[in-house]
Each structure stands twice: as C-alpha cells, then as structure tokens.
Symmetry: C2
Subunit: 132 residues, 2 copies
C-alpha cells in the first residue's frame, strides 16, 4: 500500500498540517496539503502546501526565500493530521515577518475581559519580504 | 470587543486547535473547538474540545482521567487556528494509550517505498483506560 493512500484525506482531498521547528519545538504555522503537496514535500524535503485561498500549490518561501527544510514527517493516530518538523530558513515563518504565526496570547487581567496580546516582535518588515 | 469574537470561526463554527505539551514542547494532539468549548477551556483551564463525530462537547479526560491543564492559549496571525499549551495529566494524550497522537513517522528505506512506522510505545492498554 502506498503511504499516501494511508492518509485519510478530507472531503476536499486535504489534510491539516502542523509545522514545528525541529530544534526548538516551537510551533511555526498551520496549513493544508493535498496529495501532491505531501508527495512533493517528501521528495524535495521542502514544505509544499496547498493554498485554499489561491487554489494552487504553495511552495513555502518561493517568494520570501523563507523555505522550510523538512526533517521529519509524522501522521497521527487517525491518519488525518500531519506533523512536519522543519528547519525554518531565515527564522521567519509568518507572513507578518514574525518567527511564527502564534504571536497572540490570551491575557486575563484581573477584573477585566480577556484579550489577545501580541508578544512577538516583527523581525523583518513584510514590505521588504514580499515584492508584489 | 469580546476576545471570542476575534476568532475566525469556520463555516461550521469551529476552529482547529493544536495542543502542545507546555514543558517539553511536544505536539500532543489536534482537535477542534467551538465557541463554547474555547470559552469553557479558558474559564476552567481544562481543555474542552468539540467532538465532530459525536456532535457534542468533549471534556478531554472525562472518562480516562487524562485531562489537560491549560497554561496558555494562543491565536495565529489569521485568527483561525488556536494553539494551547497544556500539562498532560497522566502523560497520555492519545486514545491508543500513547503519550501523543503523532506516533507514525515516515521512513524512507533505500530502494523501497516510504512507509509509516510506529516509534512510540503504548504506555497503558486502552482497554484499561476506557470502560464502555
């Protein structure tokens, strides 16, 4: 049986993917792959996702240079979630120019409503990363 | 603005959630929450998910005792993915009795097809965890 056939693709032929920094363990981002993206990711050892908004393959870093070198590919118990351990080239995974996408932390202040607070700096201005 | 209103819930009113072990950084599992689940998770500091198969709230560990004590709740750049950092009570997050759900690693042997290999032990027999 082909390893790609063991993945439980969803109704749209996609699987959710968690990208984790291989050495620090920090979660970098969350995205989706289709069968072709996962196959290309394994063959090239570079993360290739499926862009649900652009409806096409998304070779991570193709424009920014912030590619992800893949060290490990994992599948979960239900075979419907993929975890990849990657080396984030440039140290920036997020399109906002931050190290990773999870930079909003829920903070509960006494006698006030909880709110999302940004606790990670912008490493590089996105305007200098993307040239549209 | 209420912090729950800042989450970009999907068409089903859900958001994907990554649960990460707060001290080791290991990714434990992936699940979904609806608005009520996320609110309860924050209030109780115990992970509460939405079970898409059972169509009801799923208080993680309610049967197994393997609850997740929530240390941190994070939201990503697009406000459509949540990351929670948790303490996994009992050291078992997966229903297979393993530490976490990502126990299948893609292994590429020379001149052979890649295959998914299990590289994590069962800590506790699921039969002794769940009593149906």
């Amino acid at each position: 049986m082909n390893w790609l056939d063991e993945v439980n693709w969803d109704a749209n032929g996609l699987v959710p993917v968690i990208a984790q920094e291989f050495d620090t363990g920090r979660v970098l981002m969350f995205a989706w792959m289709n069968r072709e993206a996962l196959q290309l990711t394994n063959e090239s050892k570079q993360a290739v996702y499926w862009s649900r908004s652009r409806h096409k393959l998304w070779r991570k870093g193709e424009e920014s240079g912030h590619t992800q070198k893949v060290h490990e590919i994992r599948l979960d118990c239900d075979e419907d979630v993929v975890l990849i351990k990657v080396e984030q080239i440039g140290g920036i995974a997020c399109h906002t120019g931050r190290h990773n996408c999870f930079f909003k932390k829920l903070e509960q202040e006494k006698d006030a409503q909880a709110r999302w607070l940004i606790d990670q700096p912008v490493i590089k201005d996105p305007k200098t990363i993307y040239h549209d």
